[in-house]
Amino acid sequence: MDKMPKWADVILTPLISLLLAMAISAIVILAIGESPWEALTTMIDGALGSSYGWGFTLYYATNFIFTGLAVSVAYHAGLFNIGGEGQAAMGGLGVALVLLYLPLPHWLLALPAAMVGAALFGALWALIPAYLQAKRGSHIVITTIMFNFIAAAVLNYVLVNLLRPVGSMDPASARFPESTHLPKLSDMALNFGIEWGKNTPANITFFVALAACLIVWLLIWRTRLGYEIRVLGKSEPGALYAGINPVKITVITMLISGGLAGLMAINNVMGEAERLLLNAVEGAGFIGIAVALMGRNHPVGVLLAALLFGFLYQGGGELALWTTIPRELIIVIQALVILFTGALDNMVRIPLERLFLAIRKPGRP
């Protein structure tokens, strides 16, 4: 009954959309008097051309996987969680508290402990908006926006007044103990005698993120809880008819969502900076929205979109570092990619569908 084969919809449509975005980007680059070809090669080379580039691309992608999953889980329950930024920031606080105040002799212990701290703090930060939405009907979009600002204030206060080592200019916590440092992907590769991605921040969290994709996929599509989440997202009367408690599911979903956003801190706070910085999230919470929506709220889609954004981030970073192209160009390219693959996808899909129908028609009696 489908209008075109699934592979076309899943692969061809986004690919053509991406090409369109690239074409427009090229025009923008030309307009500011730079060479699109140089820009493209710099980006691809910088992000994918070496293990070094990959190390960064994967690092950024890891951040986006977590925030993207966070948004998508909530989305399945019909909740639009714009609070990933604040939840991830609070997750960082959780990680810092665990690593600074618990004696953890080895990263194998530190990682699960920090994960608990990260998820717990992120989840708690989502709890109040969730509860208010479920019980009082306060729109979760407003409350999560507000909680982003509040999280920034809390973190600022804690870092400046409580966690900052005396005499330090930097509103950042002390370094985490050496024993809690996570293995970098480069170290892991070295164990196999492979020189890969030296001095890049990609670390073992990437695998945690992959596992998170799998777990979220199982959760949403294979568990009863996921079923209930999806039912609630589609129809509240339906949920009631099926004996599903909307308040409970709303709160649980947001806890999971906030927890996932919080888990991002394992990557950037524990894995990269190895101390808590003031603005550690750097907008990854908002990128998560784009990643989730572009990935059609499916973990595989989220993974792919996160990799795409990781590529854009790293490639764009290289562009800003090594060419005279201003770094804001990357934001424009990101915008175009989001626009074409996420919002203007039908511009490509509809003609494609016609094409496939036309191809198929003559074959039928």
Partner: protein, 549 residues
């Protein structure tokens, strides 16, 4: 005997051009060929019926005529003049009005605002509203179409909403009125009233197209009838020259039993005992005012009533999900055990554990998740069932397998469990719900409006299954606004009015007339001065309470 070849069966009596002539209309939705080379001729001043199974393409054809969809090919002639209908504006100007199967009203607008929408005079609302108010008064008097012009739509009963749709068309001075399944949501009395209006309109020379699944209505009111099957027009006949049985066969392509065949009930132990059930909704409206009744094993109890008299609340309460914030009192026992009505254990999941199955009144909003695949809907509400789970995870293979079986046994078409529920026709959607609930073999089945908008083939099937369940010794609570359905299925009939049960009757010993009186709130059928001989006709319906917000 009817001719079954295209438009030859129906010829305008005079030489005057037909009001509507469609030639070779085709329309595909992607790969679905909804209409294929359709020809149709509707003489002026007639009522023309269109019947066909769910998904046969009736609504599509009419929507094309009304400019809502664009046909892929074909010609339209209005009063003999070829016309290209590009949008609804063209259709309206050509004198066509349409009442859609799913009303196109703005819920939070007033009646008046809905009427003038798109037909305003000038840029300011005030004069338009004033004018419309006047015209409305006139139309109301002329056709007995009373509605409060200042009421918002969401406060109106469906019957009244439909009046608004008709008024909308009349306000635009439609000469051709298309009604898509108008009686699906009406009580018999309301339907009767509607038909009187339609006859009045015809007598004025207006042309009417009526889509319905009810052959009784076709026989009663139409002059000609066309039958569609799978996107094609298979017959057009004069109503006087055909029979319901023949039409049914034309529609479905096989013989259909139009009456439920069932033996006498053999009631056993009481399964459901309801005592003094009261419910006040969050707005403080008393919806149930002390309901008491029993249903025994092997018995179907039908609840008749005009919609909005508490049936919905009764079903939801028994089903475990009364509107939150309602105040509830009374007791309900199932299999002799009292079940909680509020607080812990008072949810729909618990009810299912207690052996209560529930086919809800609104399959699209409650009974199915429209975006889920059909197989996923088969587990809907039963997703905790061990049979559908393996450890922590749901066992998709098991659910799919079960779904395949249900599709087979209930003849759900198309036989594709991967399609989203949205993509099935109303009748097939209903079959999925009924299959899910009946095959659980519940001790008590709550079933609301089981055949609303469902074609006769499917009705026959669903009715048969309900009777089978009863014969297996189960209790069935049937709520329906279709008196025919209530009369033919129930072993006992209770009539609800304004949150009370007005009386109980046995189907063999009552008439639609008597039930109609009870439904109108007349306590006893003895001749009291103010109720004597009032038929459940249009006038009386006027005074029925409206479905509140």
């Amino acid at each position: 005997m009817a001719t079954t070849t295209g438009d030859k069966g129906v010829r305008p009596a005079s030489a005057a051009p037909a009001a509507i002539e469609l030639r070779k209309i085709s329309k595909a939705f992607g790969p679905v060929q909804a209409n294929k080379d359709i020809d149709l001729l509707v003489p002026k001043g007639t009522i023309h019926g269109i019947i066909g199974e769910n998904g046969a393409g009736k609504s599509t054809l009419m929507s094309i005529l009304y400019g809502f969809y664009k046909p892929d090919s074909g010609e339209v002639l209005i009063n003999g003049q070829p016309i290209t209908i590009t949008d609804s504006q063209t259709a309206i100007r050509a004198g066509i009005g349409m009442v859609f199967q799913h009303f196109k009203l703005v819920q939070n607008f007033t009646v008046l605002e809905n009427i003038i929408l798109g037909a305003e005079d000038g840029a300011l609302l005030r004069p338009s509203l004033a004018k419309a108010r006047g015209v409305l008064k006139q139309l109301a008097a002329e056709y007995q179409l009373n509605v409060d012009p200042d009421e918002t739509i969401e406060e109106l009963s469906v019957g009244h909403q439909q009046r608004v749709e008709i008024l909308k068309a009349l306000y635009r001075q439609a000469d051709i009125l298309i009604l898509d399944e108008p009686t699906g949501v009406l009580t018999p009395a309301e339907a009767d009233h509607l038909f009187r209006i339609l006859e009045g309109l015809r007598d004025e020379g207006k042309t009417i197209i009526l889509i319905t699944h009810k052959l009784r209505e076709i026989m009663e009111i139409t002059d000609n009838v066309s039958v569609m099957r799978r996107g094609e027009m298979v017959a057009s006949v004069k109503t006087a020259e055909t029979t319901p049985e023949e039409l049914a066969e034309l529609m479905v392509g096989r013989k259909v039993l139009l009456n439920v065949a069932k033996g006498a009930a053999q009631p056993g132990q009481p399964i459901l005992e309801v005592r003094d059930l009261k419910l006040v909704d969050p707005d403080g409206v008393e919806r149930l005012r002390g309901i008491s009744f029993d249903i025994r094993a092997g018995e179907i109890v039908g609840i008749a009533g005009v919609s909005g008299n508490g049936q919905t609340q009764l079903l939801e309460l028994l089903g475990g999900y009364p509107e939150s914030g309602s105040k509830i009192s009374g007791t309900v026992k199932v299999n002799g055990k009292e079940i909680p009505l509020m607080g812990r254990g008072a949810d729909a999941a618990e009810r299912r554990e207690n052996g209560i199955g529930h086919v809800p009144e609104d399959r699209q909003v409650e009974g199915l998740i429209m975006d889920f695949a059909a197989w996923e809907n088969v587990a809907f509400g039963y997703h905790h069932d061990p049979r559908y789970n393996r450890g922590l995870l749901m066992d998709h293979a098991a659910i799919r397998e079960d779904a395949e079986g249900k599709f087979e046994r209930f003849d759900v078409r198309p036989r594709n469990t991967n399609l989203a529920a949205r993509n099935f026709s109303g009748g097939n959607q209903q079959k999925i719900v009924v299959a899910r609930e009946i095959e659980r073999n519940p001790d008590l089945l709550l079933i609301g409006q089981p055949t609303r908008g469902v074609d006769i083939g499917a009705i026959e099937f669903i009715h048969k299954r309900i009777v089978e369940l009863r014969d297996a010794g189960k209790a069935v609570l049937l709520v329906s606004v279709e008196l025919d359905e209530i009369l033919s299925l129930s072993d006992r009939i209770a009539v609800m009015f304004d949150g009370r049960i007005m009386g109980e009757r046995l189907p063999g010993q009552t008439t639609t007339g008597e039930l109609g009186l009870l439904m109108a709130g007349v306590v006893d059928t003895e001749n009291t001065p103010d109720s004597a001989g009032i038929p459940p006709g249009p006038k009386h319906v006027e005074e029925l309470p409206e479905e509140p917000a």
